[in-house]
Structures are given as structure tokens and as C-alpha cells.
Amino acid sequence: MPGRRIRLNFVNLFLWLLGGGLLAFAAYGSFLTLIEGRIQPNQWQNLIVAGVALGSVYALIALGYTLVYGILFMINFAHGEVFMWGAFTAFFAATALNDAGMMASNPVLAFFLVLATSMLVSMVVAIMLERIAYRPLRGAPRLVPLITAIGASLFLQYTARGFYGSGVRAYPDYTIFDGTISLGFLSLSVKQAVVILAAVGLMVGLYLFINRTRTGRAMRAVSEDKDVAAMMGINVDRIIVTTFAIGGLLAGAAGILYTLIFNQVLFFMGFLPGIKAFTAAVLGGIGNVIGAALGGLILGVVEQLGPNLFLSGYGVPSPNQLKDVIAFSVLVLVLIFRPSGLLGRKENT
């Protein structure tokens, strides 16, 4: 990094040693695992594909965090619950359609109806969240909306529990997505392919929306400077609502893709994916749209691959229990070497 002076104080030295140590540990562990050769190449491929599919879901949720952060500089901790509300409500649409026989007679339309329900519900929840929980606190110190967000998160969780019950519900099977596709050396299940393609499609759409439309330009302007944007005639409130709405739509879509892979819903299901997606957003550089997508993918793949690759070579018993440790260690590592995330803005701008 030319022009940037690295100050070598005790804390920095410690952090770099820690980072270097972790990297060396992971590298040596991978070496041991690969030498051992217990896990077959096609299994590694399965892990990577599963990681990419999971990572795409994380990425879609992470976009919601990053969009809101880019504009309001606040972390919307209730975003995981927005995701849960969409998926949970759409569960009832899916069961109703299944009971009506539409899942069997017209599966593609049924899938899109379920998807639309989820996206719509998530969007409405996100907009209400902004209107009720965040807008009244717009001028307050930054810590205030952060605390409110956590409160809103708990409120949404337990409202869902009151509405829909505390048990686990299983989505009906989308039989059209059964089976696997083989592309030369690559084989993946149809569900994984659908998840990856849908996520990529949505992300490209978002990118075009932000860069090619008037509203997108207004969003970028508000993100750069709210006051100046307002002086140029942009309705800042409306842009903020739009941002939340887009975040909600993406979270709703992520909810359906998530249930496509895991097909279970629970009132608490938003918590962990929410945290993971937030981690992904920070990893990629919070506020940066491409960064969020990249962060999600990296996190998903590392989480799947990490335990088996880094740890099983050392003979660690049940390494997969430690997959969250690995996911969060990656975050720590990235923040040590690139404090503002992979694609984040530089420290002092």
C-alpha cells in the first residue's frame, strides 16, 4: 500500500502476529487434511457448491444491512427478523397452495406466488420498521437507533411467535426442484442451482437499479450527503423508505431461497442468518453493495469448507461444531488486515 505509513505499535504487532498465526494454522491444517486424502474431490466440490448456495442467501440479506448503512449509517439489527417474517408468512401461502393442489398442477406459478408473498410481507415489515421504530429517532445520537433496532428485533421475533406459534414448521416439497444437474465435472442439485441463479439475478437487478435509474442515483446522492441531496430537490424521506423497501424485498426473496434449501421455518430462524449476513456485510465493507455480495459468498464457502479443511487434518473431534468459530475468525482476520472490510472505504475518508 504505497503512501500509507504503517505504525508499528504494540497492538498492531500483536494483531498482525495473531492474524499470521491463524493463517499459518489454517494453511498447515489444510495441508494435513489434503495429505490425509480421506475426503474425496467430489465431496470438496459438494461442500463448495453448498457454500456458494448458502453464501448467496447470506449475500441477499447482507445487501439489506449494507443499503441501510450506506444511507443512514445505522445498523438495522432487526433485518434478520424481516427475513423471518417473509419466510414464515409465505409458509402459510405455500401450505394453502399445496392443499389446493396447485403445487402439483402448476408448480412454477405456485413457486412465484409463494415468493411474491414472502417478498411483499418482508417489504411491508421493513417499511413499518422504518416508519415506527427508526424515523422518529432520525436526529438522535447513533447509539439510540442501534438499541431500538435490537428492541425491534425482539419485538418482531416474539410477535411472530405469538402469531404463528413456537414450533418448527416444514414447507411442502417443491417436487419440480428435485434432482441434480451435472455440468461436466460439476454436479449440483436443482435447488442449489435455483438458489444461486435467483440470487445472482436479484443482485444484478439491484446493481442496475442503483446505477442506471433516477431513484438509484438519488439513493447514491443521499448516501453521499443527505443535506445537499435535499437541497437538490430529492425527497430524502422517500429515498430512505425506498431503501428499506428494497432491503425488505431482497430479504423476503432470501427467505424463500433459504426454505428451498432447509425447508423449515421457526420464529427464531432470523437470528443466526441475520448475524451471519451482518458479518458478511462488514467483511465485504459495510456500505458497499458489491462488498456485501462478495462477503456473503466468502462467508458461506468458508463456513462449509473451513471445519473439514482446516481442522480435520489436526484430528480435532467433531470439527463441524466449530464452523461458526471459523466464520467469525475470518471476520477478525479480515478486519486485522483490512480494517474497513474487503471493499470498504479507506479508514480516514
Binding site: N46, G167, F262, L266, P317, N320, E347
Partner: protein, 427 residues
Amino acid sequence: MQKYMRWSGMLVVLMLVLAACQSDGGGASEEPSSDGGEPSASADGGSGSAADCDADEFGCIELAEGDPLIIGTALVITGANESLGLDSQYGAQVANSLRPEVAGHEVEFNFQDDGCSTEGGTAAARALVSEENIAGVIGTSCSSAGIPAAEILSAEGILLVSPSNTAPSLTAPETHEPFYARTAHNDSIQGAAMAQFVCEVLGLGSAATIDDGSAYADQLAAVFASEFQSQCDGEITAEEAVTVGQTDFTGVLENIAADSPEFLYFPIFVAEGALITQQARETSGLEDTELGGADGILTPDWLAAAGGAADGVYLSGPDLAFSGDFYADEFLPAYTDVSGESEPISVFHAHAFDAYNMLADAIEEVAFTDGGTTYIPRTALRDAFMATSGFEGITGTLTCDENGDCADAKISVSEVVDGAFERIWPE
């Protein structure tokens, strides 16, 4: 400013992760015992009976004429595993409907939720301890909740009788809490039975296990693994673990698939059990692997959550083919009246029914009346319960040993056939 924001963000994440991961560290704190059981009989001159209360380390439960006798429950009645706890709760309610009065007092329940977790067990036990004059507790559902609950209740001299805790450590001599007993089988029996079934009936020679870190799953998987190796020289290819709340098991399953075991045993709970069932069916390398679980997922909720993938899974659990007509002719109709369910939603209702009646018998054995007030000395109640011998219940003939194992344990194995449980072993 952005910098601080980022660090505070990380801090919040750390806090949340810690909060999510924290297991209960403070379960051992004991409050000074301030029982409501100060014998007031000493005020009216004292008698030989009141001296029993004085002599009793934990004093007496005291019930004035017309006071209800309170029995607590600490069962998992919300969340993914609610069918397990509700089922036991209905069992206790059925027993109560047939025997509403114990020692001349009407029985009232204090229902608490054990959350199927260490934290939940601690909270439920604390709530029950704060209830004055509680005569005994039926619970917990999950062994991980039972460990702290037994400790807290034993410190106050309150008897805890579990209808469904099965982890061996709860009644192992070195870890047994003095006021803990159970009517459910010990997993040293269930694990051995499942190992026997897998090698003798299915004829399989290698197996892998998955537990979720809970006391129940961890210990049952370990018993199965050691019995599988010692009974029939089976090979254990992997002993994996997952975390509660996890949804993606690709990593674990691929790791297990690397050794292609013939049998995969995951004695865990509903949410994770259903996901593992589905994902194992889609993992290459496990196509020919038979799947097996235990009583934690022996419920229609798991069947619904796992869907078609459940077919062909073998599940061990208590044998519900009870002898005698009482279960079919009287218990089940009463169960339907109490619960509104057409059939039992899990497998430990009969154990809860027996627990209630054993507790009631023990109370009636030691209770005495003095001037219209009923006294129940707590330590004597425990001793009477632990001395239960040859009690004829639904689940069999129950006799308690000194560590609180009371079950007449009979294990059966069911297979899922066309989305329903079918009992297949022993014939």
C-alpha cells in the same frame, strides 16, 4: 466516526454471539434456605409430630384446611420440542383428573417451561422454588434442563421426578442429586438396545453418530458407540457433533460420508433431527446408509418436519405396547379429553402419569394432620419416594433404586413406514 461505528458494531456482534453461546454458569448459586416450613405447631404446645418437622432438614410443607396441594411441572411446552413436554403434561393432567385429591387436599399445578435447555431448566426451577409449599415437581423433559433443575430443587429439599430425562449422568452415583428421581428409562439401556438392534437385526457393522452437545444426545450417542463396539465388535467411523439451532449440516455429513458408514445414529431433537434426515438423504456417499434416531424425535412433529425423507428411519424409544387394558380403555380417552389430540403427541405421557401417582402415594404415606393442618416433612417424602417398590403403573412395575432410577425400562424400535411409526422390534 465511522470507525467507532464499526467497532461498536463488532462489539454488538460479539455480545450477541456470546449471549447465544453462553451456557449457564450460575446454576450452582444457592439461596439460603428459607422454607415456609417453620413448624407453627410448636406454637400450640408442640407434639411428637411437630418434632418430625423440626428434625427434618428441610422442614415441612404445611397446608391449612382447604389449601390446595401444589405440584409443579417443568416441561418443554413451547418451541420446536413442545410436543415432548406437552405430552408429559397431559399425562400428569390425566392422572390428576382421576385422582384430584391427595392427602385430603385438592391438587393444583404450577406449569413451568424447561425450554429444553440448561437456561430454561434453571429458570423453571427458580420459579418453582419461589412458590411456597410446593410439594414436588414433575419434570424436566430434557436432560440438559434436568441437571441444573435437580441441583436447585435439591438444595431446597424439593423432590423432582422426571418422566422423560434419560441421560445416564442424572442417576449416576457420583452426580446424582439427592432429591432427583425418574420414571423414564436410563439411556445406558436405550443405547445398548439400539446397538443390539443395529448389529443383530439389521446386521450392520459400521456406524457414525451425531450429537448436538446436549446432555441427552451426547451421553446417548456415547453409550451407543461404546455398546456397538463392545457388543458386536462394530466399527465407529465418526463421532460428530452439531449445535442446537444449526440448519446446515452439509459439512458434518460430507465428513461422515468420507468413511461411508452403514448406519448413522443421531439421537437429537426435532428441528435439527429433521434437517439431518433430509440432508443425509441428499448427501452422496450416504445413499446406502441406514438412519436412526431416538425418543427425542419420536413424535409426529418430527415426521411432519422431515417429510418424505423420514421413511425408513429407525427410532428407539420407550415401548408403548403396555400390558393391561387400562392404557387403551381409560388412559387414552382421558388423554384425548384433556389435550384435544386424537392420539398421543409423544411417548412419555404414561411415564408422567406414573410419576404423578408415585408422588401422590409418597405424599400420602408421610403426611400427617395436626389441628386441621396437614404437614408433609420433605426429607421423609424423598425417602418414601425413593423406597417405592413394586409400584404397579402403566409403564410396568416400578421400583426405585438409591440413585432415583425407578423405571421398568422397556425399549422398542420403530421404523417409519409411509409417514407413520411402525413398531418393529422386539417382536
